[in-house]
């Protein structure tokens, strides 16, 4: 039977249409007929082990599990017949035998699938008088709490790990009465999607550790939001109590995040009330920071900005909203300045190109060949990583060209080469695909390149994607030029994985300029920083610190106190963080998603768009009289009208700047270092993925420099010297050292890629 054939079945006397071969429970769910279930989950494989979904099927003597029974033409099903109900009640009674009656102290209470189903199918009084089994809880890391006595062995969490997260971490060990969920050996669950296990667990066996005992489900008010940390634009539900975000859940949207979110999006809310939150304006007078009132601070800012006039530079995080960026650009323009930049981690501005996904999010999982250049997509944008993994499991041929080897959760071809040789590798694939041009003609083609080129050419839907490591590369323009030639030669879609939640929006509202060099090489008279901590959020912290220190006036809009900011700023205005402000993000595929504030701004903080509007007024600029963020949005949309992003570079650049040095730094930004909110989220900072500043180097390179694991060593980059511990990492190629950016200890270092020297400290 073909997949799209429909059959007619009868359920509880009602005729319904179903796809042939579909499981009965999918058909009844679609028709709004409720069948109780525990182990079934629409995104996971069928295990049919809980038996809660038993129904009566005509001509079959025993009840059948609806989740594992394919529909067939003319099938007659009873979900509420005496036989079905007896089966369901029987299953319920067995499930409750070992389940503790601790709902009053269980975090799942009130939103528990077992509780709900027990209400319908359980008996008032238990016939079971024997002892219940008890399972010791396990320590599986900072994000998930376990109460395994409550586990009903549905194995959803285990299947989630194997099928969605792509790492088998939790398992079911032991047998029968002795079966327990866990890692067997003491170990944390480290997947970047691990929090979803909390959602799939139907009972209170796996619950959120940061949320533990903080609130009850029925006290929470649900508000919508858009995730602020990457360009996926995952849809969120914020659960709010008394003006505080208590937790974050995914909001289902099959076009974007399905029913999953990354741990980064789920747990970053914990930073909203961290001790470092800034909630009053700070003004520096004679080198001393003092809290001040808004009026005083704004007056000072207005005069500082006026002074700077057309020599103002705006550096804004690509996580700022459309509204904020639109007003910031307008403010700069009003003062006669065109200098605004949001591509804070881009390493090369020699060519202009619009960076976007080049396709829809769902296209990613439908591609049949993909080549990722300079991308650790799994950690950069976990949901895109998941989409690509889905494609790979369906047979998509995935290859990577990267300066370091990645830990993969699916099989992929990895070309690992020092940063300076990456362009050569892309050129070789391009040559193998039949492209011609400078660099390409000289490239040395091997079998690997041939294989990638052939797959890209043969695939009905192929894509090339440039990731964060490519964007940060000093020869990004070259990589893009070559990728564009390769795309033309293979017919593949050229796409990019822009870093910030609003990287695409920033381009559409004109919040991109001539690049960071133009901004920092000659210090401007004044700078406006939005959501930027110079030591952590910029490609070259050393250059940024220098320019900002020499500038006459620096004002920062920030949600957090930060030494890195306090060292260079003159005024810091406290602005509302994620969840406290309304706004709009345009995700990687170009979808505009607006959200309202879920809680009121903390303390004295104000939404950044309002601060900018007031500044516009104080500076007597035209067109700063919006009453709502919707008005700002309407204006921004008008501006963006007709603007199209094109990943192809405006000019072909084929001259490589990064020369092969004895030792080159690879400065990736770890998953939990991408922005201030994430950096202040304590639970995330305790995970294994919270990578600390260190010298990651392979054994033979370390030996060359006379270094061993655990030793302290001195790194020198552009004359700045810092001391960091040495970690041996076989994933780093020869001639390279990985020193992550955006993490404490690297705020004085230079560019994310570049020559460094090492010596014993």
């Amino acid at each position: 039977m073909s997949e799209d054939q429909t059959v007619t079945i009868e359920v509880d006397g009602r005729e319904i249409q179903a796809k042939a071969g579909q499981m009965l429970i999918d058909a009844t769910d679609a028709a709004g007929i409720n069948i109780p279930r525990f182990c079934y989950h629409k995104k996971l494989s069928v295990s049919a082990n809980c038996r809660m979904c038993l129904v009566e099927v005509a001509k079959v003597p025993k009840p059948l599990p609806a989740c594992a029974t394919p529909v067939a033409e003319g099938m007659k099903v009873q979900t509420r017949s005496p036989l079905a109900i007896a089966a369901q009640k029987g299953t319920m009674e067995f499930l409750l035998i070992n389940h503790p009656l601790d709902c009053p102290v269980c975090d799942q209470g009130g939103e528990c699938e077992l509780q709900d189903v027990a209400l319908g199918y359980g008996d008032d009084v238990s016939r079971f008088v024997e002892g219940k089994r008890v399972v010791m809880d396990k320590e599986i890391g900072p994000l998930i709490s376990t109460d395994l006595t409550r586990c009903i062995h549905c194995t959803r969490c285990v299947r989630f790990g194997a099928e969605i997260a792509g790492v088998r971490e939790l398992g079911a060990t032991g047998r029968g009465e002795h079966m327990t969920i866990g890692t067997y050996i003491e170990k944390s669950v480290d997947s970047e999607l691990s929090g979803n296990m909390i959602d799939v667990c139907p009972v209170g066996s796996l619950t959120s550790k940061p949320f533990r005992f903080r609130a009850r489900a029925w006290e929470l008010i649900q508000r919508d939001a858009i995730a602020p940390h990457d360009a996926v634009g995952s849809n969120l539900h914020l659960h709010v109590r008394r003006n505080e975000v208590m937790r974050v859940h995914p909001k289902e949207n099959d076009a974007v995040n399905e029913c999953w979110i990354s741990d980064r999006d789920r747990f970053s809310y914990t930073a909203l009330n961290s001790a470092e939150r800034l909630d009053t304006p700070l003004v520096k007078t004679r080198g001393e920071w003092k809290e001040s009132g808004w009026h005083e601070a704004l007056t000072r800012v207005a005069s500082g900005l006026k002074e700077a006039g057309s020599d103002l530079g705006v550096l804004a995080s690509p996580g700022c909203t459309v509204e904020e960026l639109h007003l910031a650009r307008k403010l700069a323009n009003g003062l006669g300045s065109e200098r605004i930049e949001t591509r804070l981690r881009q390493g090369d501005f020699r060519t202009a190109a619009g960076a976007w996904l080049g396709q829809s999010v769902t296209d990613l999982e439908r591609c049949s060949a993909a080549l990722l250049i300079g991308s650790n997509v799994r950690k950069e944008q976990p949901i895109f990583g998941h989409r690509l993994r889905k494609a790979a499991l369906e047979g998509c041929d995935v290859s990577f060209i990267n300066p370091l080897e990645l830990e993969m959760n699916y099989a992929a071809r990895q070309i690992v080469t020092p940063p300076a040789a990456m362009a050569g590798e892309v050129a070789a694939v391009a040559r193998a695909a039949g492209a011609a041009g400078p660099l390409i003609d000289q490239a040395e083609v091997t079998e690997r390149h041939q294989a990638i080129a052939e797959r890209l050419k043969a695939a009905p839907a192929a894509t090339l994607l440039l990731g964060n490591l490519a964007q940060a590369h000093p020869d990004y323009a070259v990589l893009l030029t070559l990728a564009s030639a390769l795309a033309k030669a293979t017919g593949a879609v050229l796409g990019q994985l822009p870093a910030g939640a609003n990287s695409v929006g920033a381009q559409l509202v004109g919040a991109v300029g001539d690049g960071l060099d133009a901004m920092l090489a000659q210090p401007a008279k004044g700078y406006l920083l939005m959501g930027v901590e110079p030591g952590y959020d910029l490609w070259d912290p050393a250059a940024a610190n220098a320019a900002l220190t020499q500038s006459g006036f620096v004002v920062a809009l920030s949600g957090f106190r930060s030494e890195s900011l306090e060292a260079v700023a003159d005024v810091i205005l406290p602005v509302s963080a994620f969840a406290e402000t309304s706004g709009t993000f345009v995700n990687a595929e170009g979808t505009w998603q607006s959200f309202a504030g879920a809680v009121s701004p903390k303390g004295e903080t104000r939404p950044a768009w309002k601060v900018l509007r007031v500044l516009g007024n104080l500076l007597d600029l035209q067109g700063f009289d919006h009453d709502s963020s919707e008005e700002v949005l309407a204006e921004a949309r008008q501006q963006a009208e007709g603007r199209q992003l094109d990943n192809a570079p405006a000019d072909a650049v084929t001259e490589c700047r990064l020369v092969d040095a004895a030792l080159t730094r690879i400065g990736d930004v770890p998953i939990y270092a991408v922005d201030a909110l994430v950096r202040h989220a304590a639970p995330l900072q305790k995970t294994r993925d919270a990578i600390a500043a260190a010298i990651y180097i392979n054994e033979s390179e370390a030996a060359k420099a006379g270094l061993t694991a655990g030793m302290q060593a001195a790194v020198t980059q552009n004359g700045t010297r810092v001391i960091l511990p040495v970690t041996i990492d076989p994933n780093i190629p020869n001639g390279c050292v990985r020193i992550p950016a955006g993490v404490a200890g690297t705020e004085q270092l230079g560019g994310q890629f570049g020559e460094v020297t090492l010596e014993k400290a």
Binding site: R159, E169, G171
Partner: protein, 176 residues
Amino acid sequence: MGFKNAPMTTVKPVEGKENLFSPEVRAEIDSWIAKYPEQWRQSAVMAALRIVQDANGGYLTEALMDQVAAYLDMPAIAVYEVATFYSMYELKPVGRHKVCVCTNVSCMVNGSDKIVDHMEQKLGIKLGETTEDGRYTLKEVECLGACGGAPMFQIGTKYYENLTPELVDSILDGLE
């Protein structure tokens, strides 16, 4: 895509498999791997665990299970699941003679309780324990498929059926 239709292999095959186990153990495991399609290397996990357990004096350690996982390109947890599920795998040292006594239905109605009592008394240990001299371990198991000869137990690779206390004495005393 689930457990059933794709092997749960690790993504990156472990290098240096030739350094795991002794050549004899490897050869034996390889003969089992050869019985399955190439991508289903992990199907040999039960045989591999048994072979490794036998070579290690009758029990498995975490390190050995990890090596089996590495050898078969499986996630370690998948090996732990198998090793903890089946009663023939031991996760702690056992005595020289492991007496696996069936207490399932057929054996129970034919007096396995008496057999268990007798052995516990004779050896001075409870089910699940090992005698101090390391000679015997008593282990309770489920049906071994020899109901026709119930009550029964298994020692090593041998089944002993229609047990009586006297027969038990002579069997146990006859072992070295």
